[in-house]
Amino acid sequence: MRNISSEMRAIWNCAFAMKYKGIYKYWLWFLFSLTLIVPFSSWYITKNIHNSIGSISIPFSILFTSAWLPLLSGSVRQNSAANARLVPHLHTRLIQLVSAFALLGITVASYFFSFFYPSFGWCFVSLLLYTIGSGWAHGRQFGWPIAMVVLTHRIIIDSLPSNISTALTSDTAFFMWLALGLLLGALFIKFTFPHGGDRSWQIQLRALNQVMQTKDPFAIPKDASSLTFIPYNRALQAACAKHSRNLAVLVLGPNLHWGALLSQFLFVIIGAILLKTLLIVFPASNLSGFFSGFGKTACCILIIMQLTAQNAAIQFSKTRTEQSLYRLSAFAISSKLLNQRLAFGLVRSALQGFFLTWGVALMCSLIIDPSYNMMVIITTICTLTLPFVCLYLRDYSREVMMNAGYAKAWQYLGIFIMPSAVIFMLTISAPLSAWLIIAASSIVLSAILITYRWRKMIAAPVAFPAGRIEM
């Protein structure tokens, strides 16, 4: 008992006797002030600005305050790194206490709150805030498992009586689907891209280090000059080579990993939630027109970006030094294998751009004009950009720099977009099946083109490091 009380006292001291200097001191005061303001302001806003939901202002205030707490504790932690180092176990305990308290409050309140007012999505906004806050502050997604259960339950309840299109257009269901997508995306990212790096290679490194530790330390050569290929070294090299094949992914940047797509989707979904929220809060006003226009514009810009930008190639061309260092390391995979990795990465990155564009376009259509027809048309237009993926697959041994030329891009633009425009004009009144046929044709064509150019790229002489800029 005495231990618990002394520990609580230490936690209290740890929380309030932190040594802050300079701007951090003011930042901390600002955060604490906000903590006092958040419950009242959230209550006031929900009560006065949205009169119709005044009755739920108190639970909403509780929710929002609970969501705020992890952000606050995260700031305390992040801005007092020295303190965290001095009393690490207490510091961690403090963060866990705050997070657990907030999670408990938000889970219970949001669950019951959704029964009282099912067509309103603030509880999900609070959950989102909490989860983002805890993820940002502590690198731990405390809320995901419980939130998953809550939301899945709500989705099932809401979706059962109606069909999917109704579920998609209902405000509550919209939020729930988005939130579910958000949660799933975050879970995937959790297992692919935790904060600070790629989980898969971290695990590999850990495994490798364990291998090295369990082996006879005396067998480890003390000096490079004593490098001999004794059995131990062979075994170690085999282990390392196996790992380095995966580690090669890292050379071309974290965006080569397929998980990067999910992280981008996460932002898209957050953006969609914010946009939808704004449209709900300000219905039938000039602002809603503005937000609607903003959504449409963003959608168009993203599609144009997908058509013209060559992010994948440009991105990889920036990793020339990294590729060089990797190539010179002892257990690097062969250049040929790395070339394959590069080709794979290029296709994946380009497809990522395509899916992102498609996702954004669909989100915008769901928010602005949630109809099946619109979604099909948008899907078709997006798939028309798919053949551009093959642009990235080139014989880089003949290129001075890793950049699919804009001239070629315009050629493809002409080849695919102009006939598409003609088809669009001719079939604008055609049934949706015509659109679907166009989309399917584009996908097939893309597959053929990608396969053809993939083979050419793999068969080409090894270009390494890729993206040489030899002016």
Binding site: A81, R85, G196, G197, W201, Q202, Q204, L205, L208, N209, I220, P221, K222, D223, A224, S225, L227, F229, N233, L236, Q237, C240, H243, S244, L247, L250, G253, P254, T321, E322, S324, L325, Y326, R327, L328, S329, A330, F331, A332, V400, P465, R468, E470, M471
Partner: protein, 295 residues
């Protein structure tokens, strides 16, 4: 005669129509510490990258430890350390992650040395967990050097390793290089424009000019024997001088000859000139020599 560990044989490299390396031949023997000098754009980085197989050469051949650069074995790669000119590397990782990553790629990793260098070169725990793109240029360069030294390479190729370091950082780096690396008979090739650093550590210097090694010599011997001989053109213009490196005649009627010549030869030259007061023979600093050779 010990076989060279790096053999560069008549390599040529050009970018578009511009030749950078022209039939360059260069041998580097074990234990040599060579400072590679040359003007901006002379091709120092290109030469180093070609030597490591990071750039394809147009013609010629390069071998390191008897292996072609295009096909290094794991053992050879484990013996090479390289610090690129660009310190912007693996920006998306933290220093700890970067070092862990490379640790997994080498059979031998001197953890103690890494830890010591990180501590001595100002990488506290906070900095080690900071993304590399948040580090300063000097910190990135230090990290790059630590990474290159961590596996105790036998051949170290440094492309302007101290260009972003402050004088203290440079001193620490040189101390490390002299105290640990060179003492272990590591072969070092490094390019720099900071000649005072080069004078501290280099045993040999090589000047790159017009795509070729214009001059390579032991630094002490070069500093001792390099002379600038200035006098009237009518006397010097047709006079053969042994070890001549460069001869220029200016509009005022004077001729300047840069030569590597020893005391005996200077004595003989003075005797030939019959004690003419118009002739001036003076020693050269490394900076003077750099200017004269690479101009």
């Amino acid at each position: 005669m010990i076989a060279p560990i790096v053999q560069v044989a008549s390599i040529s490299k050009s970018f578009s129509a511009q030749p950078v390396l022209c039939s360059l031949t260069w041998d580097i023997h074990p234990g040599q510490v060579i400072g590679l000098l040359g003007r901006n754009g002379a091709g120092k980085s290109t030469l180093m990258e070609c030597m490591l197989g990071l750039r394809e050469i147009d013609s010629g051949s390069i071998t390191i430890y008897g292996e072609d650069v295009a096909d290094f074995s794991e053992a050879t790669r484990a013996r090479i350390g390289y610090v690129p000119q660009t310190a912007e590397l693996f920006d998306w990782l933290t220093p700890n992650q970067l070092l862990d990553y490379f640790k997994a790629l080498y059979p031998h990793w001197n953890t103690t040395k890494v830890e010591n260098l990180l501590s001595r070169w100002g990488f506290d725990q906070l900095k080690r967990e900071k993304r590399i793109n948040k580090l300063s240029g000097g910190e990135k360069q230090r990290l790059s050097i630590i990474r290159a030294l961590a596996h105790d390479p036998q051949l170290l190729i440094l492309d302007e390793p101290v260009s972003s370091l402050d004088p203290i950082g440079r001193r620490e780096f040189l101390r490390e290089l002299i105290g640990d690396v060179i003492e272990r008979d590591t072969t070092v090739i490094f390019s720099t424009h900071i000649l005072s650093d080069l004078e501290r550590i280099a045993l040999d210097v090589a000047f790159l000019k017009d795509g070729q090694i214009a001059l390579q010599a032991n630094l002490d011997e070069l500093m001792e024997n390099a002379r600038r001989i200035v006098g009237p053109s009518k006397i010097l213009q047709h006079m053969p001088i042994s070890g001549e490196l460069r001869r220029t005649t200016s509009a005022d009627g004077s001729t300047c000859v840069i030569a590597r010549t020893n005391e005996e030869e200077i004595g003989a030259l003075t005797k030939n000139l019959n004690g003419s007061n118009d002739i001036r023979i003076e020693g050269l600093s490394l900076e003077d020599l750099f200017v004269e050779v690479t101009q």
